[in-house]
Assembly symmetry: C2
């Protein structure tokens, strides 16, 4: 069943492309247009049947009743004014940014019918070539309404994510950013730090442990610089806690305190077993 | 083709049980006996056909021409003298401990035909129930000969691992421990620290990133306390480097230095892509 007449996907990468493919498959849109900074991305998105038309120019979003902003956080913030000047006032607007406070506080003022989304899907891979219509199936999507969010806008975007197969919950943007600083941003910082620490010549001795703990360090660096800086305060706090934990383990090893070390590790194991 | 007449596996868990199952499958031993501290483990090992006979008492290893020590590092060190008093002087002895310097320097003096092994196989799971005859297939096994190692002992143990499907390389024990402190021990410490840092209530927001980076924190805590303490100096040094890397990323985030942050992450990503 059609939810929107004309959908504009701004940034047709892994997430934007997957949304387009899923909406096509479920016939949720009359027409889907795509915007990208790269001509080749548009070609591939057309070829994969994700979009009906594509353009390097934001003008193509004219008349859209749904606009999904899928570019990196920094790009979304830079483009917002220009998009608002082109888009109908009645258009529902959402984004898929990985941090929400900076985006929500900005877009909330710019678009009359905006609500933030964060689909916890995707991987270290990126780009339209890795897009899949089913990546949201069984995943969690967090909506971050503000005091200004219109209820019908929230309901419609919630329906969209449900139709794409996601479970949907709502959280204030500030709460979202605090939680994600622990569950997503901190693991990424550790993965980047860990692979940096391993001497090049030792890489060939990597077993599955190192591979798994550093998988997400293969993520796009620009995307993650953006995320880290846009959630700076929360991340600095979660890093403090992590460094404190590391220090406790290090101190137990240094003091050869086996009982303490074992207690720390056991608590960690038990928590991981609950995950 | 039979390589040994009587094989004694001391510690019939994930690795010991898998060696036994694989040797049975390839018919590499006339008889396999198992020693465990737990009666139930012996029952299960018998039931799975991993061993022909089992005992809580080390006496059962009498007359063995191969003894494989598969208990945790600390237990191996404690049992070595007792085992040496029972085992034939001609018995080939190896162990599968995850750190090698402490074990090799000790066992080298106790057993005339000893060489250390470290099969880089296994997982966060443990116990005879998870043992599989094929876990060494395609894995890497590191042998750590010393100046005292007899060449025929090394050749025979190398043949054994090759028959179990592993690639075999040799490294001095000190070098092994240094490398593994980065490629295995450090990832484990990070996984334990990370899961400890995540507030309990946030666990339900975990996506694949957190799951993968903390998978190995589900490992047995006693086993890993042992490993960390038996490779203490190397681990403290690798932790210093890791903490230094973490500090650099934190400082770049703190100073909002996007160029520096992006350069650090890009270098890390490129290294991970080479893994």
């Amino acid at each position: 069943m059609r939810l929107f007449k004309k959908v504009a996907i701004v940034g047709v990468g892994l997430i934007g492309g997957s949304i387009a493919l899923a909406m096509k498959k479920k016939k949720l849109a009359g027409e889907i247009v795509g915007v990208s900074r790269h001509r080749n991305t548009l070609k591939l998105a057309l070829k994969r049947g994700a979009i009906d038309r594509g353009s390097l120019n934001l003008k193509i979003i004219e008349g859209a009743d749904l606009i999904v902003l899928c570019a990196p956080v920094g790009v979304i913030l830079n483009q917002a004014r220009e998009i608002a000047a082109i888009a109908p006032k009645s258009a529902i607007v959402t984004d898929v940014g990985s941090t929400k406070q900076a985006i929500v506080s900005r877009l909330d003022k710019i678009f009359p019918r905006y609500i933030g989304s964060h689909p916890l899907a995707g991987s270290q891979r990126r780009g339209i070539l890795n897009a899949q219509s089913d990546i949201f199936k069984g995943s969690l999507c967090i909506l971050t309404p503000s005091r200004n969010t219109h209820r019908p806008t929230q309901d419609k975007i919630k329906r969209l994510w449900l139709r794409l197969g996601a479970r949907v919950i709502t959280l204030p943007a500030a709460r979202h950013d605090k939680i994600l600083s622990f569950t997503s941003h901190l693991p990424h910082i550790l993965a980047f730090s860990l692979i940096s620490a391993v001497p090049e010549g030792f890489l060939k001795f990597a077993s599955t442990g190192l591979r798994d703990t550093t998988r997400i360090a293969a993520s796009e660096s620009e995307l993650w610089s953006d995320i880290f800086l846009s959630n700076r305060k929360n991340i600095l706090r979660s890093l403090d806690i992590l460094q404190n934990n590391l220090g406790r383990i290090k101190s137990a090893i240094n003091k050869k305190d086996k009982r303490l070390l074992n207690r720390i590790l056991k608590q960690a194991k038990d928590k991981r077993d609950r995950l």
